[in-house]
Amino acid sequence: MADNVIEFKKVNKSFDETRVLNEIDFEIEAGKFYTLLGPSGCGKTTILRLIAGFADVTSGDILFEGQRVNGLPANERQVNTVFQDYALFPHLNVFENVAFGLEIRKLKKNEIKIKVDEALKLVHLSGYGRREIAELSGGQQQRVAIARAIVNEPKVLLLDEPLSALDHKLRKEMQGELRDLQRRLGITFIFVTHDQEEALAMSDQIFVMNAGKILQSGSPVDIYDEPINHFVADFIGESNIIPGKMRQDYIVNFDGQDFECVDAGMKPNEPVEVVIRPEDLDIAPIDTGQVNVTVDTQLFRGVDYQITAHDAMNNEWKINSIHPTKIGQTVALAFDPEDIHIMRYGETEDDFDARLETYD
């Protein structure tokens, strides 16, 4: 496909004997915002380093616009990186940092000046050119790092947890600015984070990783609403995961009752896991909902109350509710068939997609 800027084909990466990337396969389309999401040590940075050319694959192929680029040195790739620690050059000032790539490419002085000023304006740092790096705040340094990368107009911009050092407010602000920047420039972004909220807020497409594997890829909504397994459901937001049994298509049994659901394609009486998101649960007077639970704890979080409760079978329930309850009170939980998502044990993403095809 001509639209794919980057493709990984069965990429493996080992350090000495330890395998850190396992059969990674993915395609990156031009002009979209991608996020690699996963816990610490799962191999996100390693993937970026492979794309940038700082490391070589152990086996497999990396394609850039259809061309195999294994072994192509980093300085010949049309990719730029925003490093997690910014990696600005301390002996150069802001302008010189941003101009570094352009000077390497031997652009004319006035051309460089125009481009650098434009890039600094893009990251809201106009007039900061003369400043030394040490004189900048963390958020400003991060934006210099972004300017230094985008000024080269790469086909793909790699961002390795560029917001992790910032406080909540600045972080939110920068999320918006980055997303905005990506849309304006039309550059493909590959963004690394281990913050699921950040991933959901910013991405067109998310790759959820764990232990060197991509577990699931899809739009934020797909991944949030239809996690493929326990790990993804747990990692992407809070969830109630309850063991159950698939009676037949569209009927699932858990908590000792049968419930209507919207999933199908499993074997009769197949053991499954049932996912219900805490915010999909409504609290109702006792006996007016689907399950009765007794409230154990309640925590006010500003926008809502985070409540934990247990049912008659001693399953834990997490509920997010804008209305408070009382600890020890027994209430009913109300939810709709669409709020129930069923996960099969050990189902791969391909099998999952194939099953969805059968009844969608």
Binding site: N75, L88, S137
Partner: protein
Amino acid sequence: MKKWRISNLYLALVFIVLYLPIFYLIFYSFNVGDTMDHFSGFSWRHYATLLSDSRMISIVLNTLIIALLSSLIATIVGTMGALGIYSAKKATVKNGLLSLNNVLMVSPDVIIGASFLIFFTFLGFSLGFGSVLLSHIAFSIPIVVLMVLPKINELPKTMVDAAYDLGASSWQTLTKVILPAITPGIFAGYFMAFTYSLDDFAVTFFVTGNGFSTLSVEIYSRARQGVDLEVNALSTLMFIVSLLLVVGYYLLGRYNQNRRLQRVKAAEAKINQ
């Protein structure tokens, strides 16, 4: 309180013992008389003799030329060596090279001097300016490596990656990123090598010949022939020069520290922000 006093007293005593001979020497360099027996009056006499002693002046120049040249070449070679050790991929190779370097650092000058003498005579290399210069370069290189290597290790690894990422070649990465970033270390290495060369006696003593001499060797041989207060005058001047070097070195250190402080402050600001 008491303990503090005793330790201070001790320190003062140590410094007095260390510096007393030097000040004694300096004091008598201004003597009118020819001996250090008693001070018979102030005069610049010995300094005048020193300045009209063309042999001594040329030796001073030799010494400076050797020191400047040897430390310059040692700085270039040593910096490249440090870069080589840094970029060694295997840990065993890296540690091996570093150990070889450190062995040279700690081995006594006498042994280094003697082995150079054997080496040069074995090669039939005539002793003189060339042999002194070569051996000074040789013993200065490990010093430079030791001063520069920590600076390279301090560089964030991603900074080098960033240079490649922005399209720089290996050479451009070296000249535009790595070398500017380790310049303070290179200067410190140069200073150290310079002072080591300037006051080296043992090695030079072994490898010099053909009438070529450096200050330390010359002063040694003159002092053996009996006290000549011209040597005192020269020692005084050398002492002042070393004092200036130390002050320069100190200021360089202060400059580095300021830069580090600035960096730390920036990092703190990043966290506090």
